[in-house]
């Protein structure tokens, strides 16, 4: 079943519409863009206008308890008067032993949640949302407070659970690792509206447009020769850490130049065509199709001076030091 919504939160300046098919859709956006507000409105915890439908079932006129959502809050909100088991069982319609096992909580059953580590608390929050047998999921930074090891371990469980369930799931995160590990497609919340962005993983080249401060804009798979599939030239990359398969670069680290081209210190030159120019706050995001999609963040003035418009031939320069392995 697909989740479809068109929501307005006038006092927060949000007017967001999207379709979320089964699978994990990453939700990106700068701090304060309204990601949490959007999730709370979808769950029925914030007054909103507009429609929310799961399959053919309208949810927007339902109270929160009737929306069937599995919501993991950014601040977790575990019940302090209940132990681990009591928290997980809170909304569960039946036995919870399988959920306790899946999220490795069986040994912690009778621990008070106030005595748990950050990672354990996050597991409890996920298990609690899972145990209610939701029809769709909203995960607000479910891995925010975790050390890398704990995050990887939780990912393995979460990925498996999400894959099996095949529910529509919106995942808010700031981390490129989370996006690579968990998401099938992306939405960017920017200027109060949602913009779809290309999917992330798989062997094909993809581009990610996102609000700048979210921290990552492009995530490219890199083959054994150091090439981003779709582009002809191998990139000049920093040393590849063990197990890294993708590189990321921020749009503000991409320089665009129009012919004639002189020498520069930047090592990576990707020739392509401007495919779109989208406003992003005080700046503009310029998408360049160079085999892989390259997004550059430019000022309006720079765009005027270079006379950039869709169809223009440009060369995108990226410094080696601006590329980061993930």
């Amino acid at each position: 079943m697909t989740l479809r919504f068109a929501l307005q939160l006038p006092d927060r300046g949000l007017d967001a519409a999207a379709e979320v098919p089964p699978g994990v859709t990453g939700l990106l956006g700068a701090n304060g863009a309204g990601k949490s507000s959007l999730l709370h409105a979808l769950a029925g915890l914030l007054p909103h206008r507009g429609t929310i439908e799961l399959g053919n079932t309208p949810l927007h006129d339902q109270p929160p308890e009737a929306r069937g959502v599995g919501l993991v809050f950014q601040d977790l909100r575990l019940f302090p008067h209940l132990d681990v088991r009591g928290n997980v069982a809170f909304g569960a319609p039946g036995p919870i032993d399988d959920v306790m096992a899946r999220f490795h909580l069986a040994a912690l059953s009778h621990r008070p949640v106030t005595s748990l580590s950050g990672g354990q608390k996050q597991r409890v929050a996920l298990a609690r949302a899972w145990a209610r047998r939701p029809s769709w999921l909203l995960l607000d930074e479910p891995t925010s407070a975790l050390a890398p090891d704990a995050r990887r371990a939780l990912f393995a469980d979460l990925r498996e659970a999400l894959h099996e369930a095949a529910l529509p799931c919106l995942l808010v995160t700031h981390r490129p690792e989370d996006l690579l590990a968990l998401t099938d497609r992306l939405l960017v919340l920017h200027g109060g509206a949602l913009h779809p962005a290309a999917p992330l993983h798989g062997a094909r080249p993809h581009e990610v447009v996102e609000a700048r401060r979210a921290g990552v804009a492009m995530v490219w798979p890199v083959d054994a020769d150091g090439c981003v599939p779709g582009t002809r030239l191998p990139l000049v990359l920093p040393p590849r850490p063990e197990g890294a398969t993708h590189v990321t670069v921020r749009p503000e680290d991409v320089i665009l130049a129009t012919p004639p081209h002189g020498p520069t210190s930047a090592r990576n030159a990707l020739d392509g065509t401007v495919s779109a120019i989208v406003p992003a706050g005080s700046e503009r995001l310029v998408q360049v199709d160079a085999g892989a999609m390259v997004t550059a963040s430019l000022t309006e003035r720079a765009i005027e001076e270079l006379q950039l418009r869709p169809g223009a031939q440009v060369r995108a320069w990226i410094k080696t030091t601006a590329l980061r392995w993930v």
């Binding site: 915890l45 109270p63 929160p64 308890e65 809050f73 019940f79 809170f90 949302a129």
Partner: protein, 213 residues
């Protein structure tokens, strides 16, 4: 102690217990309501409920007398044990409501949202999250209300009178004894009993308050 004195103590405890029991659902309802909502109407209701805290109890008793009298509801309640219970309940209610209200205010509303998202109706969220977390404050309010009911004098004297074995509670019995030239030590013994009971109540309230923190 004489059988009459023991009876007065038992009657006091029984009336106070009944008054506290009647106040419990009212205090839970009003305390939650006052904690979570603000409007002019609510402020007015709150002022009315809180009034016995500042009114002379005699005036509260007179008010009850008028309310239940022939020109009011016309119910034959006055000068019965029920009247003593009612007077104590009205006078003790503000303390109870205040205790509940502070306790509910201390419960994080985001936990209620979490409960709702997990399928709990507003009532279920209150019962399963708000009430357990507010329980120490609710118990504290109950102890204070009970203690206030045990000590109740003015409203009871006006509305329930001082009928031996029916409405003559410890404070009324002490007052009655003090009116006599020689009470045979009744006032002294009952006063000691009252002091003992009050201390017990204060200790209980303190213990509950400490458990909360």
């Amino acid at each position: 102690m004489t059988p009459d004195e023991l009876h007065a103590i038992a009657l006091s405890l029984g009336i106070a217990a009944a008054a506290t029991a009647i106040d419990l659902p009212v205090a839970l309802l009003l305390g939650t309501w006052f904690a979570r909502h603000r409007s002019t109407a609510i402020v007015l209701v709150e002022a009315l409920v809180m009034a016995p805290l500042v009114l002379p109890p005699v005036v509260t008793g007179y008010g009850l007398l008028l309310l239940f009298g022939p020109r009011g509801l016309g119910l034959p309640v006055a000068f019965t044990p029920a009247a003593a219970v009612l007077a104590s309940a009205v006078v003790a209610l503000p303390l109870f409501v205040r205790g509940v209200r502070h306790a509910v205010e201390g419960v994080d509303t985001t936990l209620v949202e979490a409960a709702r998202s997990l399928g709990a109706s507003p009532w279920a969220a209150w019962r399963r999250v708000v009430l357990p977390l507010a329980l120490p404050g609710v118990l504290g309010g109950a102890v204070l209300a009970f203690a206030r009911a045990v000590g109740e004098f003015g409203a009871t004297a006006v509305f329930a009178g001082s009928i031996a074995g029916r409405t003559r509670t410890v404070p009324l019995a002490i007052y009655g004894a003090l009116q006599q030239v020689d009470d045979g030590g009744t006032a002294w013994r009952l006063s000691l009993a009252a002091v003992g009971l009050s201390l017990l109540g204060a200790v209980a309230a303190e213990l509950i308050a400490r458990r909360r923190t």
